[in-house]
């Protein structure tokens, strides 16, 4: 029997689910290997019987938790999809401010109508088996994780910094161009997409497991920076990771 796959989302932009659709012709191949039984964004049918749950988005209110726990119960394997699910991503930016002030500035005297709490990644609520990172995810990384699982293999997820891929791509170092970059401490897997497009790395894939050990010390020292200097500026996508330390 083909494995049954279900796709869910919480607070997010649904851009990572869109990357699954953006696999284009590869989706055709994928749906011949698995049964997609729930994918609200793309299909009307829904089933609570599935093997693999793919979850996008952060948890931002109490009522989300029960829904996520039920998904965890139903699934043999749970995959966190994208920065919001893996590290809480952009959603956690609101965590640095007083939540009552936040609610009032948006909804004014109607603030109490709406439920919210500090954003958290899904592994703050339930155990997660695999992480597909990025904002948005890289679709080929997603495909390789799913393929590995179908073949019963452990997916290979890089645990070295973006700098490694940036050098392989033969890009001029962003620091050399006089700009600031999070590549030295950010987990690779995106082929250094943003620096390759002439921009800086903004850290959307989260920190490597041990930035102090793995980081590109040489690069940093050359520009008079330390790992701590860089991690301190890991605030766009790293708020949850940093605040919870």
């Amino acid at each position: 029997m083909k494995p049954r796959v279900a796709i869910f989302d919480f607070a997010c932009c649904e851009g990572c689910e869109l990357q699954i659709v953006n696999l284009e012709e590869d989706v055709v191949g994928l749906v011949s290997a698995v049964d997609v039984v729930s994918f609200r964004e793309a299909m009307k049918e829904h089933s609570d019987t599935y093997d693999i749950a793919i979850v996008e988005g952060s948890i931002t209110r109490q009522s989300d938790e029960a829904r996520l726990k039920k998904i965890r119960q139903n699934a043999k394997i749970l995959i966190a999809l994208g920065a919001c699910a893996c590290i809480s991503g952009i959603n956690a930016l609101k965590n640095t401010r007083n939540l009552d002030v936040v609610k009032k500035t948006v909804y004014g005297d109607k603030a109490d109508w709406f439920e919210t709490y500090p954003a958290r990644p899904i592994d703050a609520v339930v155990p997660v088996d695999y992480y597909v990172r990025g904002c948005p995810i890289e679709k080929h990384e997603f495909l390789s994780v799913v393929k590995s699982l179908l073949l019963g293999k452990q997916p290979e997820i890089p645990n070295y910094p973006v700098c490694v891929e940036c050098k392989l791509a033969e890009n001029q170092c962003v620091f050399e161009k006089g700009m600031f970059c999070l590549g030295p401490v950010t987990r690779a897997g995106c082929s250094a997409r943003c620096p390759s497009a002439g921009n800086i790395c903004i850290g959307c894939r989260g920190l490597v497991d041990n930035p102090n050990k793995e980081s590109e010390r040489e690069v940093l020292e050359r520009f008079g920076l330390s790992v701590n200097d860089i991690v301190a500026r890991f605030t766009l996508f790293g708020t949850y990771q940093e605040v919870s330390k």
Binding site: M43, K44, V106, R193, A197, G198, N199
Partner: protein, 433 residues
């Protein structure tokens, strides 16, 4: 009318972006409740941008929506540029317009084909069509891929573009890449023709419903406005984009985490059909021909035909994209220095996102730190119109089987291509005290 009881409760409507419910309760032929509810988790983007510097703002607001992240990015960059008094180069504007065509094409194909077409063919999703309509699905996928590749070529990434910055692009596509792409766009016209024929052949399945409303879209001289223009209303004419509050008049309702808007009437419509009604004469020749073939004529007051207007715009975005590439090649694409001097001030940016008029407004301090933001999202502007359509439509279909009523209402909401996470993700912010 018979004394019918109807209970339609669609929780988390499928094949739309984000979470919303449809409620219709009828007792003894009398409508007790008829409501379009938005239940998406609010994300409080306002709290995210306030206190951040100018170069982070578009990175953050792009994440409001995965489907129209390019429109959000460009609107954001325009608002910041307006606040700093920056006028971007001709090349930057041409590239942004090209990028916007790519997103418009991608989003419209996604909606009209992956999300709406299954209803017209009587299936629950595009997946069974892979078996039954293989060629059609592959044609659709080919155009979707092409649109995404255009976005990647110009913007560095299909979703959340990464070469787009305030006052320029960090990477300029090569003349060779542009030239190749022009040929591919030309070839894609045939594919879009095929798609239009497929949708046209089942066009009779669109429920018949008509309700005249106010239509609002950007309008500018000599061009079908997408990247910029004044805010034009079919009721009251045009005003400059920085007076947008006179049009949008946002308000809060208890059954929705998204704000609602109204202007001259109880509700108005934005999006492809509103643009078509206001700017149809400025469409490319191929798009006008397609409209004629598909039976779309302005003014059109049939919300189910929003998908048809989207298909017409697909022709426009392909032909418009080819024209822009010609101009870019003629000028010779080149790397340009990007300079930004922050200053204190307010700025408004307005763009036509695939789903309609999108506005960002920011206020910065003298160091370029954002102190206030306001964003008005297309779907927010359509929520009230969806509600009014439902109220007008429901009484006329009560005699039908409950499943058919449910499907007809679902198709109505789906027609608007609502981007619900968008509409709950960025709301008004006041200056920090």
């Amino acid at each position: 009318m018979k004394s019918v009881d109807v209970h339609v409760h669609v929780e988390h409507l499928t094949r739309i972006e984000g979470h919303g419910n449809i409620i219709l309760d009828v007792e003894k032929g009398k409508i007790k409740q008829c409501q379009w509810q938005i239940t998406e988790a609010p994300r409080f983007f306002e709290a995210m941008v306030v206190g951040r510097t100018w170069d982070d703002i578009a990175e953050i607001t792009s994440r409001i929506c995965g489907i129209c992240s390019i429109a959000h990015t460009e609107t954001s960059l325009k608002a910041t540029e307006a606040a700093f008094g920056i006028v971007p180069s001709e090349q930057t504007v041409l590239l942004r317009k090209l990028l916007l065509h790519g997103e418009n094409l991608q989003s419209h194909i996604l909606h009209a084909c992956y999300l709406v077409l299954p209803d017209l063919l009587g299936v629950g999703s595009v997946f069974p069509l892979i078996q039954t309509h293989t060629e059609a699905v592959l044609t659709i996928t080919r155009v979707h891929r092409l649109a995404n590749e255009l976005c990647e070529l110009v913007g560095g990434r299909t979703t959340h573009p990464c070469s787009t910055v305030v006052n320029g692009f960090t990477r300029i596509p090569s003349p060779k890449a542009l030239e190749t792409f022009r040929g591919r766009l030309e070839d894609a016209l045939r594919d879009v023709q095929t798609i239009a024929e497929i949708v046209g052949s089942v066009g009779g399945k669109f429920p018949r419903f008509e309700r005249e409303t106010e239509y609002i879209a950007l309008a500018t001289k000599g061009e079908y406005a997408l990247y910029d223009g004044d805010i034009a209303s079919s009721d009251t004419g045009a005003i400059p984009d920085d007076r947008y509050r006179e049009v949008t008049n946002e308000y809060i309702v208890p059954h929705s985490t998204a704000k609602f808007t109204k202007h001259a009437r109880d509700s108005y419509m934005v999006g492809a059909l509103a643009r078509y009604n206001i700017n149809h004469a400025l469409l490319t020749p191929g798009a006008r021909k397609a409209a004629k073939k598909l039976g779309l004529a302005a003014p059109c007051h049939k919300p189910y035909l929003i998908s048809v207007a989207q298909l017409v715009e697909c022709f426009h975005s392909i032909e418009g994209g080819m024209k822009l590439i010609d101009v870019l090649l003629d000028r010779g694409p080149k790397s340009e220095p990007i300079s930004v001097k922050p200053k204190a001030g307010k700025g408004v940016g307005a763009v036509e996102a695939p789903r309609g008029l999108l506005i960002h407004e920011y206020e910065y301090d003298k160091n370029g730190v954002c102190v206030a933001a306001d964003c008005v999202i297309p779907t927010n502007q359509n929520h009230a119109n969806i509600q009014k359509d439902m109220e007008a439509l429901a009484p006329t279909i009560l005699e039908r089987p409950e499943k058919e009523i449910e499907l007809t209402l679902e198709m109505l909401v789906r027609a608007y291509d609502p981007c619900v996470s968008c509409s709950t993700h960025l709301l008004k912010v006041r200056r920090r005290s």
